[in-house]
C-alpha cells in the first residue's frame, strides 16, 4: 500500500487551475522529487496535501486513510510534516525551543519534548548552540532548523519545499547527505526542488508538473530524457549531458 496517494486532486483559484486532476502515489522509504517550472503548481499541491488549501476535487490518502481537506494540524498528527518555501522559523525562540515545539506533537511534558528535540538536533548536526535565537542563525542553519523542527513531530512522510533554494554548493552537499541519512532511518521524502544538481542524483523518482498537470513520473534518468519534459523545462543541455 502506498504511503501517500493522490487521486484526481484538482485545485482552482478563480479561473486559474493550479492543480488539474493530479494522481500519484509514493511508497515508504522513497525520495520522490516534484519538479516543474515556476507556477506549475508544486507548492499548491503541497498546500492541498497538508490542508492549507481546500481541494476542489479529488482525494488525498495517507496510509490508506482519507486525509482530504483535513486541517493542517490534523494532517501533521497523522504523520505528515512539511517545511515552507519561505523559511518560517520562530524567530524570537531559541533553536531548542523551536524544535521542542515540534516535539510536543507526540509528547506532553517539557522534559520529554526537550529530550526529543536534542536527539533530533544531534541527528541534523546543526552546528549552532541550542540556546541561540533562531533569528540570529545563518540562512542555511535556519533551513536546517525548520527541517529539524518538522522531524521532531515524528512524521512518516516529510514534505520539503525548496530546501536548497539560496544555499551554496557546500551547503547543498551537506543537506543532500542529511536527507539521505534521514531516509536511511526510515523516513519518506517528497521534495519540491528547483536545484536540478541536487534533486536528480538524490531522488529515486521524479514527478514533473507543468501548468498544473502531471507531465511525467519516473526515474530521474528517464524523466530527463522525456521529450515533453525537456521541451517544457529542463533545457537541452542537461538532457544531452545525461
Amino acid at each position: 500500500m502506498a504511503l501517500l496517494e493522490l487521486v484526481g486532486v484538482t485545485k482552482k483559484f478563480g479561473g486559474l487551475i493550479a492543480n488539474k486532476d493530479i494522481s500519484l502515489d509514493i511508497s515508504r522509504g522513497q525520495i520522490v522529487g516534484l519538479i516543474g517550472p515556476n507556477g506549475a503548481g508544486k507548492t499548491t499541491l503541497f498546500n492541498v496535501i497538508t490542508g492549507f488549501h481546500k481541494a476542489d476535487d479529488g482525494r488525498v490518502l495517507f496510509n490508506g486513510h482519507e486525509i482530504t481537506n483535513f486541517r493542517p494540524h490534523a494532517v501533521c498528527k497523522k504523520g505528515v510534516a512539511r517545511t515552507f518555501q519561505i523559511v518560517k522559523v520562530f524567530g524570537e525562540m531559541t533553536v531548542l525551543e523551536n524544535v521542542s515545539v515540534g516535539a510536543f506533537n507526540r509528547y506532553n511534558s517539557g522534559e520529554a519534548a526537550k529530550k526529543k528535540a536534542l536527539e533530533v538536533l544531534e541527528l541534523i548536526q546543526l552546528g549552532a548552540d541550542p540556546e541561540t535565537r533562531a533569528s540570529a542563525l545563518t540562512f542555511a542553519d535556519q533551513r536546517k532548523l525548520e527541517l529539524a523542527r518538522a522531524l521532531a513531530t515524528d512524521p512518516e512522510l516529510l514534505l520539503l519545499d525548496e530546501m536548497m533554494a539560496g544555499l551554496n554548493l557546500t551547503e547543498i552537499k551537506e543537506v543532500t547527505n542529511l536527507l539521505r541519512r534521514i531516509r536511511d532511518k526510515g523516513m519518506t521524502l517528497f521534495v519540491v526542488e528547483h536545484v536540478m544538481e541536487a534533486i536528480m542524483p538524490l531522488a529515486d523518482r521524479v514527478i514533473v508538473l507543468h501548468f498544473g498537470e502531471k507531465l511525467a513520473d519516473g526515474k530521474p534518468s528517464e524523466v530527463a530524457r522525456n521529450s515533453a519534459v525537456i521541451e517544457a523545462y529542463l533545457g537541452e543541455e542537461y538532457a544531452r549531458g545525461e
Binding site: 493542517p72 494540524h73 501533521c76 498528527k77 520562530f90 525551543e97 506533537n105 523542527r149 518538522a150
Partner: protein, 333 residues
C-alpha cells in the same frame, strides 16, 4: 565552572526579585497605614492582575483582544445581581461570573479567530461596545444608573469590608495566583504552543498545533481572570454601572498595562501597572483633579513607547542589564 555559577546567579537574580517583591507586598500595609496608600496599591495590584490576564491572550497567544471590558463588566454585574436578587454570596458569584465570561468569550472567539489582524481586534471592540449598549438600556441590570450593592460593613461571606486591608490581602493573593499561573503556563506545552501561534500561525499548524483550540484556551483563561477582577472591583466600590465597568477605556487600559510593561513577559504587567497607577497618583497629588491630565500623560508615554520601545519596559530593563554587564566586563578587563 564559572559559567555554571553565572547561570545560577542569573536565574537567582530573577527569583530573588520575585521574593523581594512578595516581601514588599507583605510589609507594605505595615509601613503605609494610610488608607489612601492602601487604595493606590490595591489599584496597582488589580491592574497588574488584569494585565497578567490580558497577557495570556495578547502577549502569549498573540491575539489583539481589545474588548476585555465586556468580561470585567460581566463579572461585576453577574456577581452583584446574584447577590442583590438571590442573596448568593459574591464568592461563588465570582466563580459563576467567571465561568459565564469564559463561556461567552469562547462563543465569541470561535467565529472571530478566523479573522486576521486588525479585524479580530475590531470585532472584540464591537462586541464589547454591544455589551455596554445592551447593559446601558436594560432595566433588569439598572440601565445607565447601574446597581448599588447594600453596604453591610465587615462581612467575609458578603465579600465586604470596612477597611481596605482585607481587600489588599485578597487582591494580593489574586495577583500572586495569576502570576504563578502565567509562569507555569509559559513553561508548559500550552505556553510553547501559544508562542508558536503568535510567532507564525501557519508554521504552528503544520507542526500539529490546533491553533483554534489553543487560542480558545487562552481566551477562556484570560476572560475568566478578568471577570474575577470585575467582581473584586464591584465589591470594592459597591457600585456597578456601565460607565465604570464596561467602557472601551477599560479595555485599552488593561491591554496598555501589559504592553507598556512588556508583552509576553510575566513581569511586564506588574511594571506597567506600577508605572501607570503611580504616575496617575503622583499627577493627581501634584496637579489636583484636572480631568484627563493623567490620561494625556499616559497617552504620550504609550505613543512614545509604542514607537521607540515596543517591547515595553521589560526591554528597557534588559537594556540596562546588558549595559551594566558591559561596563562590568570592561572594568574587569
Amino acid at each position: 565552572m564559572r559559567s555554571y555559577i553565572r547561570v545560577i546567579k542569573r536565574a537567582s537574580l530573577r527569583h530573588i526579585g520575585y521574593l523581594a517583591f512578595a516581601m514588599f507586598l507583605g510589609v507594605y500595609p505595615l509601613i503605609f497605614r494610610d488608607p489612601y496608600f492602601l487604595y493606590v496599591m490595591i489599584n496597582v495590584l488589580l491592574y497588574a492582575f488584569l494585565g497578567e490576564a490580558w497577557n495570556v491572550i495578547g502577549g502569549y497567544a498573540g491575539q489583539c483582544a481589545l474588548g476585555h471590558a465586556a468580561f470585567f463588566g460581566l463579572g461585576a454585574y453577574i456577581s452583584s445581581l446574584l447577590f442583590i436578587k438571590l442573596g448568593v454570596s459574591p464568592w461563588p458569584g465570582m466563580l459563576i461570573g467567571a465561568l459565564v465570561s469564559g463561556g461567552v468569550s469562547v462563543a465569541i472567539g470561535w467565529p472571530c479567530f478566523r479573522l486576521r489582524g486588525a479585524y479580530f481586534a475590531l470585532a472584540t471592540i464591537a462586541f464589547a461596545e454591544m455589551v455596554r449598549v445592551l447593559f446601558n438600556h436594560w432595566e433588569f441590570v439598572g440601565g445607565a444608573v447601574g446597581l448599588r450593592l447594600p453596604v453591610l460593613g465587615d462581612s467575609l461571606s458578603a465579600f465586604q469590608f470596612r477597611s481596605y486591608l482585607p481587600y489588599y490581602c485578597i487582591i494580593s493573593i489574586f495577583f500572586v495566583l495569576s502570576f504563578l499561573l502565567v509562569w507555569k503556563l509559559s513553561k508548559s506545552k500550552t505556553g510553547f504552543y501559544w508562542k508558536a501561534i503568535k510567532s507564525d500561525p501557519d508554521a504552528a499548524e503544520s507542526l500539529g498545533i490546533d491553533t483554534t483550540k489553543y487560542k480558545l484556551i487562552s481566551m477562556f483563561i484570560s476572560s475568566f481572570l478578568v471577570s474575577m477582577g470585575g467582581t473584586f472591583y464591584s465589591q470594592l466600590v459597591l457600585y456597578v454601572d456601565p460607565t465604570s465597568v464596561l467602557v472601551r477605556d477599560l479595555s485599552v487600559r488593561v491591554a496598555l498595562v501589559a504592553i507598556v510593561g512588556g508583552m509576553g513577559t510575566i513581569e511586564g504587567p506588574v511594571l506597567g501597572s506600577f508605572m501607570m497607577i503611580l504616575l496617575s497618583s503622583l499627577i493627581r497629588a501634584r496637579f489636583g483633579d484636572v480631568p484627563g491630565l493623567h490620561l494625556v500623560i499616559f497617552a504620550i508615554i504609550l505613543v512614545v513607547m509604542s514607537i521607540y520601545k515596543p517591547q515595553g519596559m521589560m526591554a528597557i530593563l534588559e537594556d540596562i542589564k546588558s549595559w551594566i554587564e558591559r561596563r562590568r566586563s570592561l572594568g574587569a578587563a
